[in-house]
């Protein structure tokens, strides 16, 4: 696959909703709906964003479009940080970044005809004027599989699937590069879901679009995504190419999610595990690894040290201590608790014995939530030879682990080769 240029890059994006209470609206805490996520979307690519309900997918999608004002982070569109733009600049940039919503019944203004719903943006941004607008709207309707004569209708005359198509036509009206599809098909019947997904894929080819495709289960995104990010409690647990993620899920959470979808392919079949307990509250996330309360493989450092994002094989990022050379456990029992054994298990260094000491040392210095996914380029320039790169944002930590990482990189390298 040729390397497409990065269209949109999200760096350490955060969105915390303040919780206010009392007479004077004092802030008593915050819901960390999105807590430092990083990923990039290349031109003409679809990135799937998956996670349980409430994990912050919608918040992430809306924050990166500035429909919600993010708390922190950067969103680079073609290299420009859109979070720093002024209102006027932002308005004109919005033509390139669009969104399709989950609920087809609240996404269209009930008081407007289809013509004005789709055509309003065309007139507003002066893409066309007069009778041309109507022609463009008719063309768009036809393109999304609706009759052009529908333009005089009101939204309530349509079925859910048809409304979703209108929503797609509206998003396409300004000829954007990037569309956030927030559970765009979740509210539709299964047969209609497939049609809409196929439509989105056709449009992607035709208009050279990139998608951030949000969904709450992995089976829907599998078909459409090039890469998939799995989200848990406001953070990205795993990010990998679609096939890689399905064939070789590393994070225990991803494995659990995958085991929940019926698999015809026996190679991918795993013992079905049901996650115990509920998703913890994002108001008060668990210490250490956010998944430790439900993780079948949870081991010593998980409860105290927040995991870093590591990249055991190139392009496959995972945020879990199991794959962090610094913490990776030697104990086969821990690995056995995983629903699926990773295909390229991380080779663990022989002197694992002194790891606990290091762990304690670093747990004191463990940055609270600041270690996000560093950008790929940064990691590559820092350590061009390494295939397994350890990335971090915490400055103190980089010293501790740099020699360790280089020592291990050779082994990881050979492991990857033998696997291939």
């Amino acid at each position: 696959m040729s390397v497409a240029p990065t269209l949109l890059e999200v760096r350490n994006l955060k969105k915390h909703f303040p919780i206010k209470k009392g007479l004077f609206n004092r802030q008593v805490g915050s819901v960390k709906a999105v807590d430092g996520i990083s990923f990039e979307v290349n031109a003409n690519e679809t990135v799937g964003l998956v996670g349980e309900s409430g994990c912050g997918k919608t918040t992430a999608g809306r924050s990166l479009l500035r429909l919600l004002e993010p708390t922190d982070g950067e969103v680079l569109y073609k290299g420009q940080d859109i979070l720093k733009m002024g209102p006027a600049e932002m308005r004109s940039l919005r033509r390139n970044l669009q969104i399709i919503f989950q609920d087809p019944f609240s996404s269209l203004n009930p008081r407007m005809t289809i013509e004005s719903i789709i055509g309003e943006a065309i007139t507003f941004h002066k893409v066309a004027q007069g009778p041309e607008v109507r022609e463009m709207v008719e063309g768009l309707l036809e393109r999304v599989g609706l009759q052009p004569s529908y333009i005089t209708r009101y939204p309530h005359e349509f079925s859910g699937g048809q409304r979703q198509r209108v929503g797609i036509a509206r998003a396409l009206a300004l000829n954007p590069d990037f569309i956030v599809c927030d559970e765009a098909v979740s509210a539709l019947d299964v047969s209609v879901q497939a049609q809409v997904i196929n439509l989105l894929m056709d449009l992607q080819q035709e208009f050279n679009l990139s998608y951030l495709f949000i969904a709450h289960d992995l089976s829907v995104v599998q078909h459409i995504s090039d890469r998939i990010a799995v989200m848990y409690l406001g953070q990205i647990a795993e990010f990998a190419e679609c096939d890689e993620l399905y064939d070789n899920p590393l994070h225990p959470y991803t494995q659990a999610l995958l085991s929940a979808i019926p698999q015809p392919n026996p190679r991918r079949r795993a013992q079905r595990i049901i996650l115990k307990g509920d998703v913890p509250s994002p108001m008060n996330p668990p210490s250490g690894c956010r998944f430790h309360t439900r993780c079948p493989a949870c081991f010593a450092p998980c409860k105290t040290v927040e995991p870093r994002t590591v990249e055991p094989t190139p392009g496959h990022k995972v945020r879990c201590h199991l794959y962090d050379p610094e913490f990776a456990p030697n104990d086969p029992d821990i690995w056995a608790r995983l629903p699926r054994q990773p295909e390229a298990p991380v080779t663990v260094t022989g002197d694992e014995g002194d790891a606990p000491a290091k762990r304690d040392a670093s747990s004191d210095a463990a940055p609270d939530g600041t270690d996000g996914v560093a950008s790929t380029e940064a990691a590559e320039t820092a350590e061009p030879a390494a295939t397994s790169t350890v990335e971090e944002a915490g400055a103190e930590r980089s010293d501790v682990s740099s020699d360790n990482a280089s020592a291990e990189s050779a082994e990881a390298d050979s492991a990857a080769k033998s696997n291939a």
Binding site: L93, N109, Q147, S159, R165
Partner: protein, 416 residues
Amino acid sequence: MTDSQTSSSPPRPEYKTYGQIVWGQFKKYRLSYYSVYGVLALFVIAMVAPVLAMNVPFYMHIPEGVGPYTQLQGTTSFPWFAALFDQNFFDSGVDIFFNFLLFYVPVSLVGWTLMMRFKKDLTDTARSKARLRFIGIASLVGIVLFSVIYLMAFSQPYVDYASLKELEGARLIFPLIEYSYRDVDLMAVSQGPSLEHFLGTDRQGRDVFTRLIYGTRISLTIGVVAVSIYTAIGLVLGSLAGFFGGRVDNIILRMIEIMMCFPVLFLILTLAGFIEEPSIFHIMLIIGLTGWTGIARLVRGEFLRLRNQDFVQAAIALGFTRARIIFRHVLPNAVQPVFVSATFGVAGAILIEATLSFLGVGPANAPSWGQILTSGRNTQQMTLILSSGFAIFVTISLLNLIGEGLRDATDPKLRK
């Protein structure tokens, strides 16, 4: 393909707008639907009041050399028409306005019918659009015309037409009831019902039936204008609070809370007490300035709800300006509960006016129903109490029925 209809039947040509759907729903609530006609009837009564009752003749012929008014001798005239716009005769703008409507509404209706004669082939949607445009233009022209007429301040010297009736050879054709609502007949004070005075007279000898008819004007005007004032205030403040949130919202919420600390009726009573001789405009203003909190909270809530709706988010994502989002996307979807609330509000305002008049701080000279009620109570006349009480009761019931029908018709959960 289950949902894209590329090959199905040819499209139906007409689709209902949201307003048509609500109207269709509304029609199913029979009682509410008929109440609309009831209120229309009240409105017509208010308009045609001078046709029913006025002490000026439609037609008058006075022979040569007869009677006290030399300028009228030997003339044939139609004094009723001139008197309608005579500010000596009707000293309240409300009366002049309704008299103006008495001519303007029929003229507009005839104009509309003629227009539709020429454009028979219009579709339903096109017709309803044309109707809206016609109503808009007609109202605008009407307001301008009325302002011109009112500002001209036409007035005539007073003529006692009733006295001319007895003259030798004089011919005068009067309306059904030959009294105006201000006519004082000192010879017939506090009378019971008779052929001369259908509902008797009050303490000052004024014809109660006439006052009741003209009272319709007062009640409807007070209801509509007061509610318009507070709806406008509530819409603006509620929109600001709901859309911008934060500090703006906080300030407006505090204002609402302060207003709500005072019981509205006592606040109104206090304010009305400051005015020496309140006219109905004072009363409208007082009700208008005190009643906005409910609407403001309603609109604020609607804005908060709509702001997070996906179609508003989509409008932001499309890069529209704030003003466009407020006026094109949020407001049109927020006004529907306001409409319902305003309908109930009109009933409420009429009741408040009646209460104020009953307590003696209402409009001083206007023939308001509340005042008839008080004078009936003072003189122990059952006819006065019952007739004015009935008028208030009917009007308020009709309006409340409409409000309830509207509320249910706009509630998608109650769709029949």
